[in-house]
Symmetry: C2
Amino acid sequence: MTLEYPDALQRRIPEATVSRLPLYLRSLLDFSEREVSTVSSEKLAAATGVNAAKVRKDLSYLGSYGTRGVGYDVEFLVHAISQRLGLTRDRKAGIAGVGNLGRALVNYRGFGERGFRIAACFDSDPLKIGTAVNDMTVSSIDEIEASVCAGGITIGIIATPAAAAQDVADRFVAGGVLGILNFAPAVLTVPPEVTLRKVDLSIELQILAFYVGRDSGLIQAAIEAAK
Amino acid sequence: MTLEYPDALQRRIPEATVSRLPLYLRSLLDFSEREVSTVSSEKLAAATGVNAAKVRKDLSYLGSYGTRGVGYDVEFLVHAISQRLGLTRDRKAGIAGVGNLGRALVNYRGFGERGFRIAACFDSDPLKIGTAVNDMTVSSIDEIEASVCAGGITIGIIATPAAAAQDVADRFVAGGVLGILNFAPAVLTVPPEVTLRKVDLSIELQILAFYVGRDSGLIQAAIEAAK
DNA sequence: CTCTGTGAAAATGTTCACAGCG
DNA sequence: CGCTGTGAACATTTTCACAGAG
């Protein structure tokens, strides 16, 4: 499925680890701002809500960058993680759909600050096209292909209703994006060379409902059993 | 860590399965709307982007509800999954922070339609307090405890800036919520009886960046190797 | 003596492959 | 026959526990 990486170049980082690196990065940036120069795996664990052994194993995939008896150098780690996540080069993203969610994403501090720049936004609503969002002019959905291609946009963000999502994805792909982040509650099909991730807000709430329901059931059961 | 569930009551459903149930549910609702009465694991797999063996194993945790040679009854499964996710009782949620993201969540079709009702919203900005969002009046953050308690709200959604998130969480907990869904980029502490889930928009983008970066590197390497 | 780095064990999750029901 | 349900094989992830560097 995946091509083999030339082994000398860099060790393969497990998926589970990759998904935690941004978490560590954020905490490390906090430490850095508070002028903390060194952290132990224990401290980083406390700050991120991950356990210490996992932190050490995760960081070990980046290389042996810690000092025994001391911990990790904050600045060094910030750099190493940013590097590995590919946040050092600055990436342009385009966003389709400037409803509430789209606007929330455009204004999201976290995006702009970490090597991402929202360089274009698109909508199908004639009333929105031509208006400004965060000092960007909203373009028509039809212009995605040309705009992505001409503007060197490598990432497409989809924040449209589900019905429009596949069309938008096809346009992003035609324009040549390398990755798509999909917020629409729809299953998309893209060619294998394009990386696709999805975030589904209502699914998260439903998962929460399961655990909430179960736990209150559990408590009921426990009360019952205690009688 | 977790209490043992009385075995007769219901089989324990693995976490990975729970996180896919809402996905199946959505597809099943689509089938239902299109008046499809029966689906095979293969069909459901295609519609959700999960593989068929996984679909069958997941559904088997709910019970043996399929018919061999035929498939699963759509309506029956919809009911069974809704039941297990605890979506049959109607739940009230409160939302703190009515910036762009908060408003996007309030208006999110997916929330209202599946047994959730956003029953209250809160903000700290005096300019927003008293205004209406989706025919709800925005209340002050200070009123969370009382409002949650009096209104029977069981779920708190946090869409505030990171700095306010822990305070809001404490208030939700004091008011008696059973679960919290956190969109703020902050690590929260809540008592163990409160279920906590988080969604971090910028982290998803960073994870995407990793795979995008790696794959374009891969392509480079492949070109190199082919020479 | 502290804290990393890591093998090895345990737990969790995924895929295979096929027996057997309808 | 077609398609579910599920043991058993395989893969990934987490946790443990400790040797050894500083």
